[in-house]
Every structure is written in structure tokens, then in C-alpha cells.
Symmetry: C2
Subunit: 454 residues, 2 copies
């Protein structure tokens, strides 16, 4: 046989700590209370999150120990494999070496369980009985359903109604894991009832579902809220991806010139990128880092770096981030996990500091890259992950044109088994590459909250 294509690590190589990039960056802007405009403290967040996660949210410690029970569960699928995409390289005729870290081997099929398990653990430890959350396409909801089940926590998922109706199989996965799933907007919350009063047929949105889940958690003593991306502690938990990748790249006798991840809220991107950025910041180890987003929801490439709400109902604190405005509604496209108006504050901070690049693609070229990948590497990527595949292919083609043996690493954040309708639409020529409405974006940005600190 030729050189290895798969770089696996033993269970003992699961990282023992999460890497906190905040330790290596200048302090990011504070998170503000929407009423007072003043920085919030831990007590403001206590109704929603357990104290351990609040502490992680604001920590500047470089390394945060992963509790043993979390590592025990990680062993079900971690370390995840790192692959060399030799067939894809050959298909592209590129001198580049393309590596990808594959997070689709987790029970829920994406990187999301890395944080779901940690969040469930800390909530259980602090006596929480029930978790609420939102989900769009369902990757996050099924991950929290899985994790909650393992720790004996009740899980209630508010699923964007249009997805609830279109994706019964993702819903079935959540229910198989023991969670309860309701269509959002629902009649169960003030936020939901307010929307339904205006429009009984509302298709829902991620912002509305967040408002519902937050409202329920805030009103109940034994219930907390869980978020699958955006927040600092979520990205922290995802750094197991990049840490393992560094060790696996060493085993492959390689180090990436370029690291690529798709970015919606920023968690899989931060997961693969932050450990490499840490080496860049501390060891001056050079690396280009590229965040890839959908052209129809381009927060990093077209949004404003400003304080904004995380949800539609304006129940959350104000975070300084790249945002399209909390009232921005992107046109329809299939990568549901990338349909968010904002971006992780830490990723936004890195962008402002010039540590990362960002680019945006339309969906058809992403699916074209995904099908090429599937036919060569076997794995059918999630629509979100196709954005990373597309950027990797473009970098490999550029390397061919420049005659450079570039080393490319991307994160394949999940498989597309629950997204085959998107492939049907793509193969049937039915996918439209819609642009966002520039006027609507202007209007949405005009409604950004006024903040004295800016």
C-alpha cells in the first residue's frame, strides 16, 4: 500500500484541556446589558446558564481542563479521523496536499456533540433537570438530545417550523434520543404567541426559536438554556478538533499553509482554527486561516462590526460582532446551519485583528464541490461543510496554477445524510443562487441598537 490516507489517534490522545484563545488575544469588547448599556456580570447570565459555563465564557485561562466524564463520552467517537484526500487531489491534478478532519463520525453526525456533551455535563452537575434550546436544520437539536439523554436531562427543542415540517427525519432522530421537539413559533411561550398573533402561518426563524427557548429557561428554576454556537464557551469546547488535527498533521509529517472552516455562528470554524491561531500567536507559526460563509448570509464579508442582539425577540445581551442586523432575513438556501445574522464575538474579534480571512460562496458551486468530493472520497458532506470543501478545492486549484505544493487543511464538520433533499435539488438543477436583498440589509443595519460605548 502507498502512504497513509487516514491518521487516527488512540483514545488516550483525546485532548485533556480545551484551548482558550482569549488568553492569547487582546481583550475583546465587553458584552453589554441591553437595558443599561453597561457590561453584564455573571449574575445576569445565571438564569440561563450554569456557573461553570459562565466562568468559561469570561475566562482568560489558556487551558481549561476537560472533566473526566466528558472525556469518557468523547471516547465514543473521538479522536475523530484526519484524512488525506488523495483521490480528490488526483481528480484536481493539483500538487497541493489536501487534508480534512472529519467530525461526521459523531453519533449525531457533526461537530456539535463536542459542546453538547460538555454543556449537558455542567448543567447536570449544578442540579439542572431540563434544557431548552433552538434548532434550525436539526444538527444542534439532535446533538443536545443525544447528550441530554446520556446525563438523564430532559431536553426540549424549539425547531424552526419550516424545518420541523421539511425535516421529519432530523426530528425523529431527536425523539429517538428521547428529546421533545416542538415547532417554533409555538403557543407555549409569550414570544411564540406574539408572533403567531401577527401571523398564524409564520414559518419561524432561528431568532424566534432562540427567544422561545430563552424565555422558558428564564422562567423556570430547574431549567437552563443551551446554545450550539456563537458563545465563547461553545467555541472553547470545539477546540478539541484543532488540537487533535495538530497532532495528526504531525503524524502526517505536515503542517497546514491554509486552514479552512465554514462559518455560521462560528463554532466549527473556531474549533479547527483557534488551536492553529494559538500557535501563530505564541510560536509565530505562520498559517492562513479562511472562514467561509454563504453569499446569501454574509455576516463576516458584508456585515457590520457592531453591538447587536443574538435573537429576534431581543431577550439576549448585546455582543459586538459582525452582524447583518437581528431583523435580517436571508433568502432561502440549504445550509440551514449557516443562516444566522451574527457571528461569534471571538471570530469577529480575530477578523478585526487581521488574523483570519473571510470569503463567501453561492450554494451551487458549493454543491458542485461537494459532489466532486463525494465521488472521490466517499463521504457526502453536509451542505454547510460543502462551503469548506469549495474553498479547499479553490485553494488546490490555485496551487496547481501557481505550481505550489500548498498544504491545505479543512474541517469537514458533518455528513449530509439528513440533507439529501438538497442534493436532489442540486442534481435536478433546481437550486437558485440568490443574493441577499441589499436594501433589506441596509434597513436591518439601520435598526442596530444604539450603544453609548461605541
Amino acid at each position: 500500500m502507498g502512504e497513509r490516507v487516514k491518521y487516527e489517534l488512540g483514545e488516550d490522545r483525546i485532548p485533556r484541556v480545551w484551548y482558550n484563545i482569549a488568553a492569547d488575544l487582546p481583550p475583546p469588547p465587553p458584552v453589554l446589558h441591553p437595558g443599561t448599556g453597561k457590561p453584564i456580570g455573571p449574575d445576569d447570565l445565571a438564569p440561563l446558564f450554569p456557573m461553570a459555563l459562565i466562568a468559561q465564557e469570561v475566562s482568560t485561562e489558556r487551558e481549561i481542563e476537560i472533566p473526566d466524564p466528558v472525556r469518557e463520552i468523547y471516547r465514543m467517537w473521538r479522536p475523530t479521523p484526519l484524512y488525506r484526500a488523495r483521490r480528490l487531489e488526483q481528480a484536481l491534478g493539483t500538487p497541493a496536499r489536501i487534508f480534512y478532519k472529519y467530525e461526521g463520525v459523531s453519533p449525531a453526525g457533526s461537530h456539535k456533540p463536542n459542546t453538547a456533551v460538555a454543556q449537558a455535563f455542567y448543567n447536570k452537575q449544578e442540579g439542572v433537570k431540563k434544557l431548552t434550546t433552538e434548532t434550525g436544520a436539526g444538527q444542534w437539536g439532535s446533538s443536545l438530545a443525544f447528550a441530554g439523554g446520556l446525563f438523564g436531562l430532559e431536553v426540549k427543542v424549539y425547531m424552526v417550523r419550516v424545518s420541523y415540517n421539511q425535516k421529519p427525519y432530523r426530528r425523529a432522530l431527536m425523539e429517538t434520543y428521547g428529546a421533545t421537539c416542538v415547532a417554533s413559533p409555538s403557543n407555549e411561550t409569550n414570544s411564540g404567541r406574539a408572533i403567531l398573533a401577527q401571523d398564524p402561518n409564520s414559518p419561524g426563524s432561528l431568532g424566534i426559536a432562540i427567544s422561545e427557548a430563552v424565555e422558558v429557561a428564564a422562567q423556570s428554576g430547574d431549567t437552563k438554556y443551551s446554545l450550539g454556537s456563537v458563545l465563547n464557551h461553545v467555541l472553547l469546547h470545539q477546540t478539541v478538533i484543532g488540537q487533535e488535527a495538530i497532532e495528526q498533521m504531525e503524524a502526517a509529517d505536515a503542517y497546514p499553509d491554509v486552514v479552512i472552516g465554514c462559518a455560521g455562528g462560528g463554532s466549527n470554524f473556531g474549533g479547527i482554527a483557534f488551536p492553529f491561531l494559538g500557535k501563530k500567536l505564541r510560536e509565530k507559526r505562520d498559517v492562513r486561516v479562511i472562514a467561509v460563509e454563504p453569499a446569501a448570509c454574509p455576516s463576516l464579508t458584508r456585515g457590520r462590526y457592531a453591538f447587536d442582539f443574538g435573537d429576534t425577540g431581543h431577550l439576549t445581551p448585546l455582543v459586538k460582532m459582525h452582524t447583518l442586523g437581528s431583523t435580517f432575513i436571508p433568502p432561502g438556501f440549504h445550509a440551514g446551519g449557516l443562516r444566522y445574522h451574527g457571528m461569534s464575538a471571538l471570530v469577529s474579534h480575530c477578523k478585526e485583528l487581521g488574523l483570519i480571512e473571510a470569503r463567501a460562496y453561492h450554494q451551487n458551486p458549493c454543491f458542485e464541490a461537494g459532489v466532486l468530493f463525494a465521488r472521490n472520497e466517499g463521504i457526502v458532506p453536509a451542505p454547510e461543510s460543502n462551503h469548506a470543501v469549495k474553498a479547499a478545492v479553490d485553494e488546490a486549484v490555485k496551487a496547481r496554477e501557481e505550481g505550489k505544493a500548498t498544504t491545505i487543511l479543512f474541517n469537514l464538520s458533518g455528513h449530509g445524510h439528513f440533507d439529501m433533499q438538497a442534493y436532489i435539488d442540486y442534481l435536478g438543477g433546481k437550486l437558485v443562487d440568490q443574493d441577499y436583498d441589499a436594501k433589506a440589509l441596509e434597513a436591518s443595519l439601520a435598526q442596530l441598537p444604539k450603544v453609548a460605548a461605541e
Copy 2:
């Protein structure tokens, strides 16, 4: 951390040979020509299969070398992991140790690519341009689509019409890999047209789809036929499963008292069981081996050991096997991969020799076991695999009752990501445990071909 839960092997531990159990068994009955009633020779099969596979079909060599290009592709997902199901053990409160080999990590999500890749390789080597095959639930069709794509072979899949309509996502997977998929019965073949003339709304069956695929291959010079189970060479290719499991069990310092696999045509069962049976036959290493089948299609437990056709159109040779008769139509149930009237000749032979046990379960208890498994181990099994899970759970409960630390190994042949409708039906209380029609079975058995050799 505690003891290991995952036993992985390096790429260099992918087996170098397939294990041929025929070398260690008394000769099985010959395969007969349906016209003459005489044993067939290689030339009779040449229109359908490449000579290399025909040679494997009749070989009595114990070890058959795996070609390097096949091992190269196996590296995409092999060796597959072996897991210790610690959480399931705890949930059952059993002293038994439960291990499972997980074949769902393959690109198509089941054990089927193990033989699909080998078959595509040998066909390509002998100049074949196109492969035809049938598929029911779609596991096999998507596996051959994947394998054909890697070798540049055109793949045409005749998919049972009812599945074609009910499982658009499996179909999309085949098309994503580049295959063509048509509903069977189709207008493209004599076999299909004959059925449609009788019943334009025929839902199709595996037997009909086999007839269509065989007919097309037999009539074209550069087209061959590919079967995903039943045949000796198919089971041969699957023995990588059991060989790896033996080495992984050694790493776990364990040897199974019981080996379990679900059985439709017999390929995943043979794959896990034959290498252990080989050790039993050659080294007197004791082991119980259990084949698990659906109560609604119980060839091993209720069929007759007799010569029968493999298809409805009676285009195949006659094979001595446990059969319900080629006209037997099982009642509806969700494990489409187990809806076959016959059983591998080698598995049937082992059953007659007293080397294996067989048992049958209804689908509701199988799904109950599958949901218990998913909530503890994270993986949602395919409906077929749930039969093996159920038997493993029953053996573990028996071990608890008897106070024995039994070591159980089962093959988790695939994941259920494309079968979530079955889980929706189960969780919604809509699954019926139908028995087969005893009178229809009697009638079907009465129509078995008369063979002088019997």
C-alpha cells in the same frame, strides 16, 4: 479514564486475505442448471460475472489474497472500529460483556461496500464497462454506486418501485455517487414489461428487480451483473469483518462466547461469523453463533432446505438453501434488507451441519432494542441491524439471570440515517408485528422446482 471502549486498528492491519470457509467444510451441494438439472460450470455464469469472481465462487482455497487496489480503497473506512457497549451493559445491569463491530462507518453506511469495491475492481480488470444490480431499501445500490464511481464503471440500479417512491434520499445518494436508478418493474426489460402488463401498478419486489438486472447484463457484451448478498464470493469479501474482530477482541483481551449477526441473504452474518467458525473448525475454539432473522420472513427457522431459484423470473441457477420459495411474499416490515425468500448456500450449509443457531424476532421488539441502544451508545442502528441488537440484549439478559459473565459480540451492520421513517412509525406506535401467511408459505413451498438430485 476507565478501560477502553473503542478498539481501533491501524491501516496496516486491514486483512491481506479473505477467509474462505468452504476450505474448512465438507463440500456443499452443487449449483444446478435449471434446464438440465445438472451442476453448472464457470461458462454458465460467464455472461453475468467476471471470471475472477466465478473462480472465487467455487474456490476451496482457505485464503484468497485481497488485491492491493481493493485494500487501498478499504483504507477509506477500514479497519472499522470494535466497541465495548459499556453503557448498554450498565443499562441492562448485566455481568455480560457486550462488544460490537461497527460497519456503519463506511461511505454508504453499511458493510455492503466491502464486496461492492471488490466486485467493481474485478469487473473493471476484465474490461467491463457497466454494472447492473437490484436494490430494495437501497443499502446495496448505494454501495455499488459508490464503488462503481471509484473505478469509472457505469452503474444502473433497479430499485424496487415501492422503495423507489418511499426512499427518495437513498436514491439521491446513489445519484450523488453518479449511478442511474430506475423503478422496478420498468419498461426497459422483458421481465419488467411482463409484470407491468399484468399489473401496471405493481409495487415490485427484490425478485423482480433481480430478474431485470440479470436480463440486461445477460444481453450485453460489456455489461455484467452484481449481487450484494447470498453468493459465496460476496460472503467471502465480507470476512474482513470477522478477521478484524478477532484481532480487536484479542486487543480487548477477550474472546466471544456468542457471535451474533442479522441474516437476510446472509452476507453480514457470514462476514462476522465465518472467521470465528473457522477457528472453531480448525482450532476447536468453542463459540455459539446465532443468525437472527425477521419473524415475517424466516427462511432459516421456517424455510425448507431445498434447491430453489434466486429470483422471481427464474433466470438464475438453482441453489440448495433454506428457502421460503421464490413466490413467497413476506408481509410488510421495515428491515428491507432482510426481505429475501432464500438464504446464502454457505450459511444454509452451516445450519444443516449444526454449526450455527437461528432465531426470528418480530420488528417491534427489535426497534425497542435499537432505541435502547441508540440512547446508550449514540448510534441509531439500521432496522436490519436491530435484529442483531435484540439478540445481543436477550443474551445479555440471560447472562444476568444466570449470573454468567458471558462475552457477546455482534455485528452492527449499518446505521439507520436513511431509515428514520421506521423509527417515526415505531415511536408513534404504528408498527405492526405481522406474521407471515402460513398458507401462502405452504403454497410457495409446494411450487419449489423438482430436482432429480434431491
